[in-house]
Symmetry: D2
Subunit: 355 residues, 4 copies
């Protein structure tokens, strides 16, 4: 709920992708696809479906206080223009399917940023195979590693989180009022929207949303780990990396000399929101009967927040890494000895395969 500072923490494209406008567009897309699928199945005429499609090209605002549900007033408005609109559907069909459409678009943006993070890690890993630095455990210098190996570890964590997020299945939902819905129509509906067709309606099985949420939290956490390392390496007393200070980045209102690691800071702040949101999604699994009285409704904003926060974390981290200055000399000064570079090379090669 409420993101007054989203302009700082979330990239514009992701903000737009999870905005009320985007959700409304996704609901309209679902309504139109439903009518089209019903026409495909001969349940309504092609003309009626076209009428629905036309109505779905109009603009509507998110409302629904009186019904705790934005689809109720939307369906009413659509039916005025196109009487066959929303036929046989329940509001949850439209909202859940819209959530998957919103998630698909936002996920594509997030994955692109995660790809950027992975690519940056790969460049750092490959370019700093032999840049010796201190390995640090419990925040104490332990034994030498190389910066390339560190970046390979970052890569591995972010790449597997990205893969996990990419693999979450996004499925259409069509169950009608209580889930008694023929699979044939659902398959058509899903096909129209290029979403997966679920084996059963999932109105009361919120595992799909929880899995998406968990994958987002894990992706955000993987970004946060890298951001934390960047912040630690950028400390003046360590001084091994610095974020770009181009164009006034990283300045302070009271101390113009400072060069704050702002990308990493933003990434950490954004990632933390995701954990909060995912707690809401996990709790929402336990909903009552065929549609929950509160739990389901709590998912909408929480999913939007989880997407926004993960997008923000990936974006800010990608910026931080793309502009990262590595001070190999300082790294060398902070450490004695060197690791076995053959082993290091082998590990970096393995990591690059994960990119």
């Amino acid at each position: 709920m409420a993101g007054p500072f989203d302009a700082i923490f979330v990239p514009d494209a992701v903000r737009e992708a999870v905005s009320g406008t985007a959700w409304m567009r996704a609901m309209l897309e679902a309504e139109a696809a439903l009518a089209a699928a019903q026409a495909d199945e001969g349940l309504i005429s092609a003309e009626a479906a076209a009428e629905v499609a036309a109505a779905c090209r109009q603009e509507y605002e998110i409302g629904g206080r009186e019904t705790a549900n934005p689809v109720v007033p939307l369906a009413r408005a659509l039916r005025e223009a196109a009487p066959e609109a929303h036929k046989g559907a329940t509001s949850q069909d439209i909202l859940d399917t819209a959530a998957m459409l919103v998630a698909r678009r936002a996920r594509a943006l997030i994955v692109a940023e995660l790809d950027g993070v992975v690519a940056a890690c790969a460049r750092l890993a490959d370019g700093h195979r032999g840049t010796v630095m201190a390995g640090r455990t419990l925040m104490q210098q332990a034994q030498p590693i190389t910066f390339g190996l560190k970046a390979a570890g970052w890569l591995s964590g972010v790449a597997s989180a990205r893969d996990g997020l990419s693999q979450v299945e996004l499925a259409a939902q069509l169950g009608g009022p209580v889930g008694v819905q023929s699979p044939a129509l659902t398959a058509r509906f899903a096909e129209r929207l290029e979403l997966a067709a679920p084996p059963l309606p999932w109105h009361a099985d919120r595992g799909r949303v929880a899995r998406l949420g968990a994958a987002l939290a894990i992706a955000a956490g993987a970004c946060e780990k890298v951001a934390l390392d960047v912040v630690l390496l950028a400390q003046n007393e360590v001084g091994e990396v610095a974020e770009s200070s181009e164009g006034g980045r990283g300045g302070s209102s009271a101390m113009p000399h400072k060069r704050n690691p702002v990308g990493a800071v933003r990434a950490r702040a954004a990632a933390r929101q995701v954990r909060g949101a995912v707690g809401v999604l996990l709790e929402a699994m336990a909903g009552e009967h065929e549609r929950a009285a509160g739990a389901w409704q709590s998912e909408w904003n929480a999913l939007a927040s989880a997407l926004a926060g993960t997008g923000g974390a990936a974006w800010s981290l990608r910026e931080a890494l793309d502009g990262l200055t590595v001070d190999a000399e300082r790294m060398a000064r902070n450490v004695d000895g060197a690791p076995d570079l053959t082993t290091v090379d082998a590990l970096i090669d393995r990591a690059l395969e994960l990119a």
Copy 2:
């Protein structure tokens, strides 16, 4: 972050009170108060303070991606118009103080809704002292109570949560870059804003924000408990209460006969967001050194969400209770026997004193 469905779950006044616009106004108020306090202390001239005040009456947008901080660009803009603006302050002074101003306004709205909930509970408690109903434990009928006693219990929970929230001290923050700040100026600054003057700057002691967050989560939880009871009592098979269905409230897109307990549903959905946000605030207590690199920045949106969600929960519950229909006959049918009404009366009287 991101509240695409806030129009459904948060009352307009609370949305406005935690919006980016409201935060910006609060930052400007803090900047103006700082200059005024500095003039009071003879640190800048009255003319300079007036110049700052004038600059603070202009409009500004929330920016600050490059600095992970909206005050940096704001301070720059103010100084162009009024060179003595933001003098000796750091961005955290302005943002933390603004957070307290935002919280004060939002809290007043929330407490007013909680007062409304308490008043509704008091009416129900007093009006149904002898309305016998089943007491239910582990969701099984146990022994008789009265609906008045149940409402008295609701009252007690919400009233003490309201009192706890009201008592959270909201203090100005003035520490300069690293917290070396004379208490005298802080006292003036606080006085100008009618906030408490803290014993020490609290830039690195986030207990104040965490306490506020916890009080919000407890208030939201107290509302959620009542909302859950309403939802349970409104089940068709129980049928002991119903929310108002005036003006199409509680309708469904597929089943026009339904009368959903929408106020309680919205309250539950809103309250759950608060728990997510408060997790972020509690985690933010552990911040690095004199200003955290991620934890502090994570508070801003989370605090806004916690205020919005609590406001939404209180508002929706108040509406639900204000329009509640109580079916005393059905209650009687669902139970055998009666409780000791003298004891019940004594307990209700005690509860009413808490209102």
Copy 3:
């Protein structure tokens, strides 16, 4: 941390599987496997490995306050008996690998209980294909379904959560002090323990633990949803199911007539602990450098709690469903009409394929 009531909520086998004794046994197993793998690779002699194996058959207690780490005193003790013990390893190698071994054993128990839940759902789905009951949305009667369809939905949610949990890869960890470890030895080590060999050491990439935690939370949530439905259906006013009351199950200290749905109640209580624990695991992803100073150490108890809670939720729910009495007559009385049974049958058939 601290489970004074685990005797109530966690089955004995799972309690034992996540106990300190079990963790210690797993650490010893990891130490022995490490020595064996090193002998396989010719790094130590077979005699030395046998000496380590013998030392690992002794009993040790969990200690390590002075080092914030139970492996430090254990390695010291082992080396006294077998000088080649713990060679080249770091404590994290042993602890992380032990965590995977503990997780494997506990997961097998949990999955067996989840299988039992799925089997019970399948029996109910198949046996009540045509048992008409009310579908309920927002806790209001909506349109008719059958109890078989409801159970099919339960099945679908629990089965996919079970599958997700089963698919989490459990990998050995071997990185030495800072992760510079030849993959060949890791592969041997993993093979000895029948764990996956990871592409890179994962000492600083905690995604593996977070993924396991998330899968546990989702499994617990899937159980909690069913338990909530059972509790709701068991309300006296609904009366459509009841848990077994054999042997005094479900009695009360003050009201002997009560028949509480205790299995479902326990399942709900246990599942909620998992969410708390998983929050800790997700937060732990952001750890510092090559071994975190607090985050990593927070995983151990949290993972044990997540396993215990999920095991408890699955066990209690399985008991509840195995002893469930279904009152088809009462279901019929609570509803008008019937759903399309052909569609219902098709959906149930699909669900049974997921079992």
Copy 4:
């Protein structure tokens, strides 16, 4: 649930105070006090009360799987020995009151450790008033402070968290099956146990437990902030403080030269568990009707965890600070300039008043 590593993270006295044995003793104390109060009120004879007291001096184990409640078998056992035992009470009366007794004992231990932390901070603040060091914001050197001022800030945060925890009211609970309970007997019962007498029974108002949980999370968070600063200052590259290495403290299994900040590490790990547990307690506020079917039962282990974790965090931090070595020379080398020491002194004086 499940704390296999509690021996590392929780001091023995706190472990004992939240153990099953301690909970059982507290339940017996509550049962004995109830009988004594009933004798005071003339509801049972003094002989009967003595009989109950005698039965309560026996030993019992925590059981109650069949009832999801440990008081049901306990009350049965007590009644066999003393027929007037548990008269008019419900299991929740005994368990909730026992929870408050357990909390009181554990809180006393926790507050004593927090007092130790505050005292250590006071010593450091007073002893290092003029020890100049770098103030650091966003992990970058900002402007000079003194270590005394930093310690004063720590003191302020921990002292106010301690005060908040101390002020949480611990009240007896007596409501009988559904909360119809005369205040007079409750007052006697509370007096016997030296607990507060609540205005109303709080069986269904879980704000009391949530407030306690929130105060624990805030105290743990305040400790975690200090521990984080210690860990950061102890980094080799900063080197401004070090924990004691007496008796092998802080050693590593692979790197004997290391001097890990183990007290701070343990404190951080313990504090994180509290957040998880408090999430469970906040969620538990929304319980059904007169006794919840799952939410209430989830509180018991979560409260024990929150107490254990907070006790662990305070204890480990106190140890860390008591043995802290401060390297004033290194601090001086890491900074240019000095703060205004008059202001610093004034702020430290204010902080010392909070001790």
